[in-house]
């Protein structure tokens, strides 16, 4: 008996570690980027996305992925491989996402992921920027008479997703208000929506963009409303593995290029005609001046391809978030020049 227990423990560990090994990705500290080489060899960018969040990453009936997170991966593919469609999408749950990235199953994680200190510093990840400034909010039934978070009282039950910062923020919030609450955390967003819809909980809490998107899935969306308060900062952005700084730079500047392009009024339809612009910043963006791509081992048209094939940030936001009715108002996700907080370092 004892012997067989031991054998099972050994077998258990062996299979566990087998999973842990996976395939090897970016090498540490090398000047050349292993991830870039592997991506070029494979011919596609390995991108981790959500299991379906309208506006961010969502697949249609034909299996085509769209959303502003998806556009980050498309931008990387356009820069590195010359074709924005050369992306392989892997839908991941909140729980799986970081392991998938650190084990090399994916190379870019664009999955509405909140940038926090412990994630950045502790588990072998590097956040490269922010593509959506979000904040956690609450949704309630209009008939409930709750008009603000100050109307919450002891014993309220709140549904949310497990494995997210939401769960932690919710606790911080209720503790700070000294309210006892019943937390009900589901693994998948669809089950949260169903449970909230059935009345299992009085409020549904997650990122406000998520609330807006999930509200459309309720049986009577008009009977629900999102409370005005925002209880947390949720800067969502793409993530890469730690240790491949070239790849990290490529992803960071692919995103920055989209935002900078909007700032300078460069979009998918006018980009190529701006090659002889008078503004050097615009000329650098469309690859007519400087040798910026060489720093990552890319050609000089990398940023032009991003703008032409994917569009600038404003185009992406309008197409996926505004026109779909999720959040028509850009709020903090407006350029710094227009009263928002989108501000990227200059591409020069």
């Amino acid at each position: 008996m004892i012997k067989s227990i031991k054998t099972w423990i050994l077998v258990g560990f062996a299979s566990l570690l087998l999973v842990a090994c996976g395939q090897s990705g970016g090498g540490a500290g090398s000047k050349k980027s292993k991830t870039l080489d592997n991506t070029k060899k494979a011919g596609f960018v390995k991108c981790g996305v959500s299991q379906g969040l309208p506006g961010f990453s969502n697949a249609d009936e034909a299996g085509n992925w769209t959303g502003i997170d998806v556009d980050v991966c498309r931008a990387v593919a356009a820069a590195v491989l010359g074709d924005a469609d050369k992306v392989k999408y892997t839908p991941l749950s909140a729980k799986e996402r970081f392991t998938a990235l650190t084990s090399g199953e994916i190379d870019v994680l664009a999955r509405n992921t909140t940038w926090t200190l412990s994630r950045d510093a502790d588990i072998g990840l590097t956040f490269v920027g922010v593509n959506f400034y979000d904040g956690q909010g609450f949704m309630v039934r209009k008939a409930s008479g709750i008009n603000s978070v100050n109307d919450f009282k002891n014993g309220i039950s709140a549904c949310t997703n497990t494995g997210t910062t939401t769960e932690l923020n919710m606790r911080d919030f209720f503790n700070s208000k000294n309210i006892s609450y019943e937390p009900i955390a589901f693994e998948k967003a669809d089950e949260v929506v169903q449970a909230y819809d059935a009345g299992r909980c009085d409020t549904y809490t997650t990122d406000k963009s998520g609330l807006a998107a999930q509200r459309t899935k309720l049986s009577n969306p008009d009977e629900h409303k999102v409370l005005p308060e925002t209880i947390s900062k949720e800067p969502l952005g793409p993530v890469v593995r730690q240790g491949d700084s070239v790849w990290e730079d490529i992803v960071r500047w692919s995103l920055n290029t989209m935002i900078e392009a909007e700032e300078y009024g460069v979009n998918s339809s006018n980009a190529s005609s701006l090659k002889d612009s008078d503004n050097p910043a615009i000329k650098r963006l469309v690859g007519a001046e400087g040798e910026l791509g060489a720093a990552f081992g890319l050609d000089n048209d990398w940023s032009l391809r991003i703008i032409e094939q994917v569009g600038n940030y404003g185009e992406s936001y309008k197409k996926h978030i505004a026109d779909t009715g999720i959040l028509p108002n850009r709020g903090p996700n407006e350029l710094w020049t227009k009263g928002g907080i989108l501000y990227v370092p200059p591409a020069r």
Binding site: A28, A94, G124, P183, Q242
Partner: protein, 392 residues
């Protein structure tokens, strides 16, 4: 001479031993290889390995806990909460699956056509639908069917059932320990009574009404503590409180969350089908001659079942039923789908996510399930041995 003997030894004993040693060596090498590989890979990616995180503050709350817990406790405590919740739902599941399984199993052998057919239909329907679908069905069907808190189903003004759970009165004890001691004392007395009764039966063929004496002991002794031991019991009845215009909640009492109810329901209804088949097989496995022989020496129907049929049927029933208990325990990990805070949801879910320590947490969780299953196995094997034929 001697040499020949040695050769003979080699071919008999050592021949078996050598492949075994080689296999174990190979396994050890494989484990070492993967450990080193994993360490290298983790090192390359800047991931550290260690169990220090277990003592850190977890900072997330859990809906339902058998022990005192909130987010200021450690991850280790959260693990314990999850483990206890897993054990709770498994124990409830095993209890009801056994009762339901035995009933259905016996019903399948009934002479009554309607009873036998209904039991057969039950088995065929519930064992052929994937468990996860049954869990979803019971959970969302229950949520949709149950009323909102304000129009709860009312049981005699002490217990209330609604979409947020089943609220029952809480027992408030005074001198609870005295009550428990009296219960333990009663159980010890019953044990000796059973020994004595068996002795009397074996020696003098005297029948002592053990059952009635036991029942009066187990109820009588604790009852006496109420009269003389200073024990008292009162109930805290759940009370409806209004939180806002349409939001109500029950305060006080004990709330049994719908996640637990539907998970336990799905697990026991599913596993009962397999246990029912085991019971049927066990009873059919006892030959008719045994019953006839027992009847011919004048045993009553109850005695035949208790003394002749069941001891033999149990030998057939126990081993496959052990498997079902193990399955039920492992299947309880599907809890994560409907937000029942078991070890998979709490520890291999939220805790894993917050700490990012996948390898550590998954190995702890695997070892936990392994030890849970092995404990059930060990217990059932002991019971099986006890029930096995004792050759004299």
């Amino acid at each position: 001479m001697n040499f020949k003997n040695l050769k003979l030894n080699l071919s008999n004993k050592n021949k078996d031993l050598i492949p075994q040693i080689l296999t174990i060596l190979f396994l050890i090498l494989v484990v070492i290889y993967f450990t080193i590989n994993a360490q290298n890979n983790m090192g390359n990616r800047g991931i550290s390995f260690g169990f220090g995180f277990l003592s850190q503050e977890s900072s997330f709350d859990i809906t339902f806990s058998l022990i005192d817990y909130d987010g200021s406790h450690s991850y280790a405590r959260a693990f314990l909460v999850g483990l206890l919740n897993t054990i709770l739902v498994s124990a409830i599941g095993i209890f009801f699956a056994t009762i339901l399984g035995v009933t259905i199993g016996i019903a399948r052998l009934s002479q009554n056509y309607l009873v036998a057919k209904s039991a057969e239909w039950y088995v065929e329907i519930f064992r052929n639908i994937p468990l996860i679908l049954q869990i979803f069905f019971w959970y969302f069907a229950a949520l949709r069917a149950l009323p909102l808190t304000v129009d709860s189903i009312n049981f005699y003004d002490i217990s209330f059932l609604n979409v947020k759970g089943w609220y029952v009165p809480k027992f408030v004890w005074v001198n609870f320990s005295v009550f428990i001691y009296s219960l333990i004392f009663a159980l010890i007395l019953i044990y000796f009574l059973a020994k004595y009764a068996q002795n009397q039966r074996d020696k003098y063929g005297k029948q002592i009404p053990t059952l009635y004496i036991s029942i009066s002991l187990i109820f009588g002794l604790p009852l006496l503590t109420f009269l003389f031991g200073g024990v008292s019991l009162s109930f805290e009845i759940p009370e409806l409180t209004q939180l806002s215009k349409t939001v109500y909640v029950y305060r006080g009492g004990v709330s049994i969350i719908p996640e637990l109810i539907s998970l336990a329901l799905a697990l026991s209804m599913y596993t009962a089908t397999f246990i029912a088949e085991n019971v049927r097989a066990g009873i059919l496995g006892v030959s008719k001659g045994q019953k006839e022989a027992a009847a011919s020496i004048g045993l009553t129907k109850g005695q035949i079942l208790k003394l002749v049929v069941m001891p033999q049927a149990l030998r057939i029933i126990i081993p496959p039923t052990t498997n079902q208990y193990l399955n039920l325990t492992k299947n309880s990990s599907l809890a994560a789908a409907i937000a029942y805070p078991d070890i998979v949801l709490v520890f291999a879910g939220t805790a894993l996510m917050q700490t990012g320590r996948a390898i550590e947490i998954i190995s702890i969780t695997m070892l936990t399930y392994l030890s849970l299953s092995l404990s059930i196995s060990v217990f059932m094997n002991w019971y099986n041995k006890k029930m096995a034929i004792k050759e004299k």
